[in-house]
Symmetry: C2
Subunit: 335 residues, 2 copies
């Protein structure tokens, strides 16, 4: 089968590609070709796999050509992140809404009705003056996004549902939790600090937490997130249980508990590199996010949240140890 992963050079996309290439199959079909579409080239280890091809460029510009390739399936992960979309309204509309629409229209035109997993986000949830948001959101919570990013994700959920109802796609939309711990550098996402406060101290670098220790948030490890994406792709439509987007399982955790887990796994000296300094812009965005999430429909697919945040910290350390940059990534742990 031929598979497309948009955002395939990004952190989640590349990890998904590695996981799938190691398995060799998806939904019972052999993976013959995996196309990674991204504005950046994929990591070298992925390019070294004979089954992998890169399509590097803006998604909007190459959506029609991608559709023409006749994929059997796709994971659509490419997205501008929340902070970027707040700063640049046009960028968000173009990258998140117009690009998705172009991809859907392309698949419709080609007519193969590929299986299609869309990565939405818990950022679809938020409070509205007329409708209180429950502290813990569920699959049936009324979305009221408070960011352009969340709005665009919600809109695309409904586009995917309608193109699916019409038979143009076999689409499924899943709402990702904040993925942590991300490697690399901080990005433009307002949620970037949820990785930074673990990653930076482990690397021996000071990190600032822009929100209070009491702030609670639904998070998931990279491994659980990739597992969820694959399970939703492989689910029977009936088992998927409907056309509305599905929440993925979350570990609902407070920032203070994240730091306690860091100390438990990596020691007091590492934890001490994090200090609290409120950032009004970030705190304002985060205040409109849910403090936790449930995922009843995902549980019915056998999916579970991470067992503890300490497990998530250990997963990150293990990932770093197996990579070429282990020394830099864990400099603070070994100091």
């Amino acid at each position: 089968m031929k598979l497309l992963i948009t955002g395939g050079a990004g952190f989640v996309g590349a990890r998904l590609a590695r996981t799938l290439l190691a398995r060799g199959t998806l939904a019972g079909q052999r993976l013959d070709k995996v196309v990674l579409a991204d504005q950046f080239p994929p990591p070298p280890d992925l390019l070294a796999d004979a089954r992998v091809e890169a399509r590097t460029g803006a998604l909007l510009a190459q959506a029609a050509a991608l559709a023409d390739e006749g994929f059997d399936g796709a994971f659509h992960l490419a997205s501008a992140v929340s902070g970027e979309c707040e700063a640049d309204f046009d960028l968000g509309l173009r990258s998140n809404l117009d690009s998705t629409r172009a991809l859907l229209d392309g698949f419709r035109r080609v007519g193969k009705a590929p299986r299609f997993v869309f990565s939405s986000s818990i950022a679809v949830f938020g409070p509205d003056a007329a409708v209180a948001m429950p502290p813990v959101v569920s699959d049936t919570t009324l979305p009221a996004p408070q960011t352009s990013y969340g709005t665009q994700k919600l809109i695309c959920e409904h586009l995917v549902a309608d193109y699916t109802r019409k038979g143009y796609l076999d689409g499924r939309a899943v709402r990702l939790n904040t993925v942590t711990v991300r490697p690399g550098r901080p990005n433009g996402a307002a949620s970037s600090f949820f990785s930074g406060i673990i990653r930076e101290p482990l690397a021996g670098v000071e990190s600032i937490c822009p929100v209070a220790a009491e702030v609670s948030h639904p998070v998931a490890s990279p491994a659980r997130t990739v597992e969820g994406l694959i399970a939703v792709y492989e689910a029977d439509r009936a088992a998927f249980g409907g056309r509305l987007a599905m929440n993925l399982p979350a570990l609902n955790v407070k920032v203070g508990e994240m730091l306690a887990a860091l100390e438990q796994v990596a020691g007091k000296a590492v934890r001490a590199r994090v200090r609290f300094e409120r950032d009004e812009r970030i705190a304002g965005i985060v205040a409109n996010w849910p403090t936790g999430a449930t995922a009843q429909r995902a549980a019915a697919l056998g999916l579970k949240p991470d067992a503890s945040f300490a497990d998530i910290v250990r997963q990150y350390i293990a990932d770093c140890e197996s990579g070429p940059d282990a020394a830099a990534a864990l400099a603070g742990l070994k100091a």
Copy 2:
């Protein structure tokens, strides 16, 4: 003030224009100019008013030019109807989604942040395999549209909310119930029969009801619908109570009750012109619509549903009597 009404030559748009021109003011401002944008020219009585100008053409093509006119306010009513959108997917996307987006982007570019009322629809509600729809929907019911029309309306609600949050508009979205009794001829809406089973027998013409007498549906008279649109335009943002779309008050009525009211007002002979003959396509669409709706937030603005369906029938007859086509419209009543 300069006001835009898209769909201004349509039934609801023209009635809204007449009502506003008779009042002479909107939200405390004198109406100096009312622009009716539509693919068809407005009725002659409206064109005869010195304050009225027509912009006739496809909305998508003229959205940018309309925005350049620098309106202080707008009612965006133009829309392809549900049956059309099911039959022609591209038409729905273009007329309902792309045109709204073009209008919003135009207003954003011009930078006057006009007050903007978007007419959404109760068609945003529907059942989903994963989420049961309550028989009677409310402002807080989770939308799960089962038509392209409902999907596009829901998407536009969220676009309006986000453009408003960013300060590009002062937008408000309201969900119209099925408006009945519409004059004229049947249109492409799946809900067209909700008018036809009253209008046709009053004109002396046989009418077929494509769904069972037990089918219940939220409806509103043209007068109540126009009253609701104006009230939402004039509401303070705080009184409007949030960025999410608001249901307008509905009379929840069964088809059998509609026909009983017709008989009560117009007599047995008129009622006898309606016969039941199930249409699977129409019945299938209607089966996914709510059987009733509540409108708590609209009630807080002082809005009420029609008191009875007999009142709605009487309103239609009175409207016909004051118009030039009274003889034809009421031929069956006078026979």
